[in-house]
């Protein structure tokens, strides 16, 4: 059957062939779906797509018909409309997957280029189905490809056309799931290891505004994904948490390094954004705790793996050594503070499962930091009590240290007290919702950082709805499919 289609298509010009192959495959997969719940994606359709959509000549005889840029744009529009009009989710997913799943051949290059343009166009014209498909694609595709897609989008919307970032920003309202995956991919792309890999300002601002507006955003994929014991290696993580923590911790030093390379011009404008991001991440962690507790997964599922922390801490140590002669104490202090806070909160919220001994050995090589010292040593705790936890884990949440009010939903809040020590959040205490948080003044670290008063005032934070009252994202029921598998798809909403 496929060869019949192929023969009929060979006579067409490039664009109409591309159109028709889509048409034929739609029919083909629709009929397959009626017969079997899980359609088999065979080699035939993929080869057809490669030949007629991506213009990879199969044999030498057939000459290479390339699409002009105009035809390509037409094709993109056709694809967009197709995905928009195809009501059957499953067919959509199958088609998208057979179009864009990397096959490890030379068509991948074209595939990625076209996917980038398609996604970019979908962003511009708000084609939700395409974005949802792309979000799924990001989940089940090796990270190297995801990073390329992110790069294409960032290239298109951050800087190329002035003001176009606004367009990308809007999709927060349209497809949060895509946003979440996008953030994960971006965090993987910009790992701050070099000056070029520091996220562009526009992008950073957009991501911060997204997460700040709703910290749950970073958990959407996690919440919509069936729990698996271990993530396959080489794929994107299930949430951008680790990547964002990395951003917040490394940023002060990375910017300092960039400043050194640029010749001493201070680059400060992004630091406020990182402070804001840090806050949002911590808030996100606390939301996570709620979910974990609800699903009684608390202490059994780590979103931040200890193995991931090791390279981060090592890199931090290296950066500190590298920048030590540069009077970067302030930045180092800030980075270590953030790390300490992130560790404390993630441990408290159950995102990180490890012992303090592990932490101690891990952080032994870091420069001295008061807060880190506190976090690593931990409160004196006689016995492990939580039944669900192994004794090795420190269940301080359910047996809070003496002197702390017992607030189950906010059990992690002692960690939050570290926030005021945050360099960029001097006015944090002034934000009404947060004043409700107890033990704010109990921390000695706060007094140790008098320099905060001189920093610019934090932009007024939006009045945050009280965290506990956050809706539990009803539109995203727990899904059952496994991230490594392609099928079956479940509707998102």
């Amino acid at each position: 059957m496929m060869s019949d289609i192929r023969h009929s298509l060979l006579r067409r010009d490039a664009l109409s062939a591309a159109k028709e192959v889509l048409y034929h495959l739609d029919i083909y997969f629709s009929s397959q779906l009626q017969n079997a719940p899980v359609p088999m994606v065979e080699k035939g359709p993929i080869e057809l797509l490669e030949e007629f959509v991506f213009q990879i000549p199969r044999d030498r005889g057939s000459h290479n018909k390339r699409l002009t840029a105009m035809q390509e744009l037409q094709l993109l529009e056709i694809l967009c409309n197709y995905f928009q009009d195809q009501t059957k989710e499953a067919v959509r997913q199958v088609i998208f997957s057979s179009l864009f799943s990397p096959q490890g051949n030379k068509a991948d290059e074209q595939r990625m280029v076209l996917l980038g343009k398609l996604t970019s166009m979908a962003v511009a014209v708000c084609r939700v189905p395409v974005l949802e498909c792309a979000a799924s694609w990001l989940q089940r595709t090796p990270a190297v490809y995801c990073v390329r897609l992110a790069k294409a989008l960032v290239g298109d919307y951050c800087g190329l056309v002035p003001g176009s970032i606004q367009t990308l920003k809007q999709i927060f309202n349209v497809s949060p799931r895509f946003c979440c995956q996008f953030i994960t991919a971006v965090a993987a792309l910009y790992d701050m290891s070099t000056e070029e890999l520091i996220p562009p300002h526009d992008l950073l601002e957009m991501i911060v505004s997204w997460i700040f507006e709703d910290p749950r955003l970073i958990l959407i994929t996690f919440l919509n994904t069936p729990i698996t014991a271990n993530l396959p290696i080489g794929y994107l993580e299930v949430s951008p948490l680790m990547g964002l923590v990395r951003w917040c911790v490394i940023a002060p030093l990375a910017y300092r390094r960039k400043q050194k390379a640029a010749g001493g011009v201070p680059i400060v404008e992004d630091q406020n954004l990182y402070s804001k991001l840090h806050l949002s991440v911590l808030q996100g962690l606390m939301v996570l705790q709620t979910h974990l507790t609800e699903k009684s997964l608390y202490g059994r599922l780590a979103l931040i793996l200890f193995e991931q922390l090791v390279p981060l801490v090592e890199e931090l140590g290296q950066l500190c050594e590298e920048l030590n002669p540069l009077n970067a104490e302030q930045e180092m202090e800030l980075a270590l503070d953030r790390l300490a806070q992130a560790l404390q909160v993630s441990m408290a919220t159950g995102a990180l499962l490890c012992t303090r001994d592990d932490l101690r050995t891990l952080c032994a090589r870091l420069p001295h930091n008061n807060l880190m010292q506190l976090v690593v040593s931990g409160p004196v705790q006689p016995q492990p009590a939580h039944p669900t936890l192994t004794p090795a884990y420190y269940p301080h949440i359910h047996t809070p240290p003496l002197g702390y009010p017992t607030l189950p939903a906010h059990a992690a809040l002692p960690a939050h007290t570290a926030l005021p020590t945050h360099a960029a959040l001097p006015t944090h205490a002034a934000i009404p919702p947060h004043t409700a948080l107890p033990a704010h003044t109990a921390l000695p670290g706060h007094a140790a950082l008098p320099a905060h008063a001189t920093l610019p005032a934090h932009p007024a934070l939006p009045t945050h709805a009280a965290l506990p009252t956050h809706p539990a994202l009803p539109g995203h029921p727990v899904q059952t499919f496994m991230p490594g598998m392609t099928f079956p798809f479940r509707p998102m909403r």
Partner: protein, 940 residues
């Protein structure tokens, strides 16, 4: 539907609006009403998408491409239709052009420009490479597409093309956009923009050149350095994959093309940049630097103009330290590559034209073995010197191949002979080459000699003779002259008539006054030397050639510089004479050489005297007429008033200060007293004592040579005359007998010179009383003898060649007549008191005796003249007169004596001489106390 948003602000469209826009952009029609979009609205729509839909940018640019295509087409159509207008409206062409047929296209392109420029300014890193590539490619397409259109300037007329395209709005916009891209990127990474330029230049080569030229002119330094470095990069990448060299050519070709355009106005920058690259490549570095040298060589090989631009400065910059670096650099290269480079270098050297002399000098200087006088710091390393030595030899070899291969190819006469720029350039420096070669520095002169030979063969018609001529002129020693001979030996086999041409050139040089006296002298000497010493090849040929220019060298005998005259004279002495010498030439030579003789006497130059004597002797033997002419010239010259002083006589100044400052009028001169009517020979003779009003005639002051010189001069003249008159075959025998015929000529000449008036000049003598009718002539003769004591010597000489003295009869008679009247009038006590007359009388009688006009007894009377009183002398002379009158001095009285080979006269057959001895004996008796000793001398 089509929104016309204000520019500069990104319009915020809702997704629905945006998808409608996409639809309308793709379909080209308004999706709501279905009507077709105008070009302008379509373009606006595309600009909107460019702002709102990043992934559509390629499509939008593609669409804009068509917009520009349309705009250019309409512009050109417009232009064509304007050109088609009748001539009457041509004046309106200067006015504003009529509105274009597709309105608003220009406006649209302006809008596009605005939007794109805004993007470029905001984010150059992202947009500039994209847009620059787009605009460049589009310009390339446009140029190629319309290149063959009628009325389009040809791609070679760059300026017209540039003017045309820059007057077109659309292409100007594109050009502006590209320029903006380049200027924003120029500091960070212009490669991105320049790469596109190069690629497009390769693709649309001749038609696209105006773009390159324009941009190159705007950003000369960047474009030049970028173009060079891009070419280098390309060269590296291709050379590593060992591809065939043909594939490498296009990019290099466009590099060469672009630089060629820029070289006219920015040659300096190109030169500096290339030199910079060269020097940088010498530092130890990466692979790219190592490839720089072959790359630059390749580049130069492809572009003669580039080679010319760089060559000179490069040579100047090659200091010993640089050379050492270069040597070190090259020593790391593999042998094969090194050989390739060497061959390329040699090829380039052959192609060098303007810098050729400097290049040659540099190579020779470097290749010369170090000498003691070289400054230690400037001495080059031995290995460098050897390498340079090798280069020189290879260069010569390659030139040789080309030169001889070229002549070999002449048989296929269709193709013009291959040009060797190096030799062409060296042609103008022939004199320097020759001069340098003659310095005879080791090795160097051998190389130069070889080069000279090649150069001569290469440009044979003018060059070879010139070189030979130069060498002949400049050589100072026989060793140096040997180089000329060698050169001739090398060339003579390939060039016909070389010697003739060389001699002709020498002669021309001399005549043109192009040579200083010193040079001319040297040239003549060298020629003579060659003719004398190289009897084999060159001498013979040169001699033969010289014989055609005898008259030219004859003129040189009159040169103002005595050395030159003498050298010319020597040359004429040794150069072979043609078998038949035209009389005109012969006489010219004779006149000139006799002039030279007397001139040398004046200058007291014995060398001149001897050489001119040699020449005259030689000329004398050419023919009978020649002999006559020589004798005539010599006598006439010797008796010339100006020369009289040389021989102890007195010259007459030809009234030099006759009229000061007055204009010489022939009429006036003719009516001048005494010159109108010749009264000579009549009783009306007038003797000037002066001009009334000007006072007496000025005292005759003459250069009186010293006694010794006079004797010497007389001696040389007489011996010359002797050898001229010598009998054939007698020259070598020391006992010379004069040829009677020659002696007769001599006698006649003397007579003519001393007494131009031949009215009564028959040989026979009249009675003594008749002498008073010829007083004036006799006085003239007397004056002549008085002034030229040489005449007596000549008379003696003539007397030797009996019977020639007969022909001097007039002179003898005239002189005797005046002497008689002197002695008659003399009231002195002894004859010795008037010494001159005594001397004259003695000489006269003795010469007549030698000439056998008098019998010996009578002739001996002169021995006692000095002891007598004047009237006695007169008596004796009267008896001489009587004898001669009665026994006339006729040649027929002489008889040839075959035994002795001479003529002689037998007085015994002519009557009794005793009757003439009466007076002699009377006088003897009268003074017997003093003359007794002599009485035996007067016995018949």
């Amino acid at each position: 539907m089509i929104s016309s948003q204000p520019q500069g602000v990104t319009p915020q469209l809702s997704p629905q609006e945006l998808s409608l826009q996409i639809k309308s952009f793709l379909s080209g029609s308004d999706p709501q009403h279905g009507q077709k979009l105008s070009l302008r609205d379509h373009a606006r729509c595309s600009l909107l998408l460019l702002r709102c839909l990043p992934p559509a940018r390629h499509a939008v640019l593609e669409h804009l491409r068509s917009v520009f295509h349309d705009s250019v087409s309409s512009f050109l159509n417009e232009r064509d239709s304007q050109d088609c207008l009748p001539q009457t409206t041509s004046s309106q062409r200067r006015g504003p052009p009529p509105p274009p047929s597709t309105p608003g296209l220009d406006e649209v392109t302006k809008e596009v420009q605005k939007v794109l420029e805004e993007f470029i300014k905001l984010n150059p890193r992202a947009w500039a490479p994209l847009i620059s590539a787009w605009s460049i490619e589009l310009m390339g397409q446009l140029s190629s597409k319309h290149a063959n259109r009628q009325g389009m300037p040809h791609s070679t007329s760059l300026n017209e093309l540039l003017q045309l395209w820059m007057s077109c709005g659309a292409t100007r916009v594109l050009m502006d956009i590209y320029t903006l891209c380049l200027s924003t990127m120029i500091d960070t990474c212009p490669d991105a923009c320049v790469d596109a330029l190069l690629d497009t230049s390769v693709q649309h080569s001749p038609h696209f050149d105006w773009v390159v030229a324009h941009i190159g002119n705007s950003f000369p330094s960047t474009i030049i350095s970028r173009v060079l470095s891009c070419g280098l990069k390309d060269f590296c990448s291709h050379s590593s994959t060992s591809e065939t060299p043909e594939k490498r050519v296009p990019k290099l070709g466009s590099v060469v093309g672009i630089l060629g355009h820029l070289s006219s106005r920015h040659g300096n920058s190109i030169r500096q940049e290339i030199l910079r690259m060269f020097h940088e490549s010498l530092r130890p570095g990466n692979k790219q630097q190592r490839a720089t040298l072959p790359y630059l060589l390749q580049l130069a090989a492809l572009s003669p103009s580039l080679l010319g631009t760089v060559c000179q400065d490069l040579v100047d910059s090659l200091k010993p330290s640089t050379l050492a670096q270069l040597q070190q650099h090259c020593s790391t290269l593999p042998r094969e590559e090194l050989d390739n480079m060497l061959n390329l270098c040699i090829h380039l050297a052959c192609q060098t034209s303007t810098g050729a002399p400097r290049l040659l000098r540099f190579l020779l200087d470097t290749a010369m073995p170090a000498s003691v006088i070289t400054t230690p710091g400037l001495a080059v390393h031995d290995s460098v010197r050897e390498a340079c030595d090798r280069i020189v030899r290879l260069l010569l070899l390659s030139l040789q191949k080309q030169v001889y291969g070229r002549t070999g190819g002449r048989s296929a006469s269709d193709a013009p002979p291959k040009v060797v720029p190096f030799l062409d350039a060296m042609r103008g420096h022939l004199p320097e080459l020759c001069a340098e070669m003659l310095r005879l520095e080791r090795k160097r002169h051998l190389w130069l000699h070889q080069l000279l030979g090649l150069l001569c063969i290469y440009s044979s018609p003018p060059c070879a003779p010139e070189a030979l001529c130069l060498l002949l002129t400049l050589a100072h020693s026989s060793e140096e002259l040997g180089l000329a001979v060698q050169l001739h030996a090398v060339l003579s086999s390939s060039i016909q008539g070389l010697a003739q041409a060389a001699v002709a050139r020498c002669v021309a040089q001399v005549h043109a006054g192009a040579l200083t006296d010193k040079r001319a002298l040297q040239l003549l000497q060298n020629l003579a030397l060659i003719v004398q010493s190289e009897e084999g090849g060159m001498g013979r040929e040169i001699g033969a050639a010289l014989s055609e220019y005898l008259s030219d060298f004859g003129q040189l005998l009159l040169h103002s510089n005595p050395g030159v005259c003498e050298a010319a004279c020597l040359l004429l002495c040794c150069c072979p004479l043609p078998s038949t010498l035209p009389p005109a030439q012969l006489h010219l030579l004779i006149r000139s050489s006799s002039f030279l003789l007397f001139h040398s006497m004046h200058l007291r130059s014995s060398a001149g005297i001897s050489s001119s004597s040699r020449l005259l002797t030689r000329l004398c033997k050419v023919s009978h007429a020649g002999k006559k002419a020589v004798l005539h010239q010599l006598v006439e010259g010797a008796l010339h008033p100006g020369n009289a002083g040389l021989f102890g006589g007195q010259g007459t100044n030809q009234s030099p200060q006759k009229v000061e400052g007055a204009s010489a009028s022939l009429l006036e001169n003719n009516s001048y007293l005494g010159s109108t009517v010749d009264f000579s020979g009549s009783v009306w003779s007038v003797f000037h004592a002066g001009v009334i009003g000007s006072g007496l005639k000025p005292e005759e002051k003459n250069r009186q040579s010293g006694q010794v010189e006079c004797t010497e001069n007389t001696q040389s003249l007489l011996s010359l005359l002797c050898s001229c008159c010598a009998k054939k075959g007698d020259e070598d025998g020391h006992l010379m007998t004069l040829d009677p015929e020659a002696a007769k000529t001599l006698a006649v000449t003397i007579t003519e010179c001393a007494c131009p008036d031949v009215t009564n000049s028959e040989l026979s003598w009249p009675p003594e009383e008749h002498a008073r009718t010829t007083v004036q002539r006799d006085l003239l003769i007397y004056t002549c003898f008085r002034r030229n004591p040489l005449l007596f010597q000549l008379l003696h000489l003539v007397a030797q060649g009996r019977p020639a003295l007969c022909y001097c009869s007039v002179l003898l008679r005239g002189l005797l007549a005046t002497l008689l009247s002197h002695w008659e009038a003399s009231r002195e006590l002894t004859s010795a008191d008037s010494s001159w007359h005594l001397m004259a009388s003695c000489e006269l009688v003795s010469s007549m005796g030698e000439g056998q006009l008098l019998p010996p007894a009578l002739a001996n009377m002169h021995e006692m003249f000095s002891l007598l009183a004047p009237y006695e002398v007169r008596l004796l002379l009267l008896s001489v007169w009587d004898f001669v009158r009665e026994n006339g001095p006729f040649p027929q009285r002489f008889v040839f004596q075959a035994a002795k080979g001479i003529f002689s006269r037998d007085f015994t057959r002519e009557g009794d001489p005793a009757k003439y001895m009466g007076i002699v004996h009377s006088v003897l008796h009268r003074n017997i106390e003093r003359l007794g000793l002599l009485s035996g001398r007067f016995q018949v």
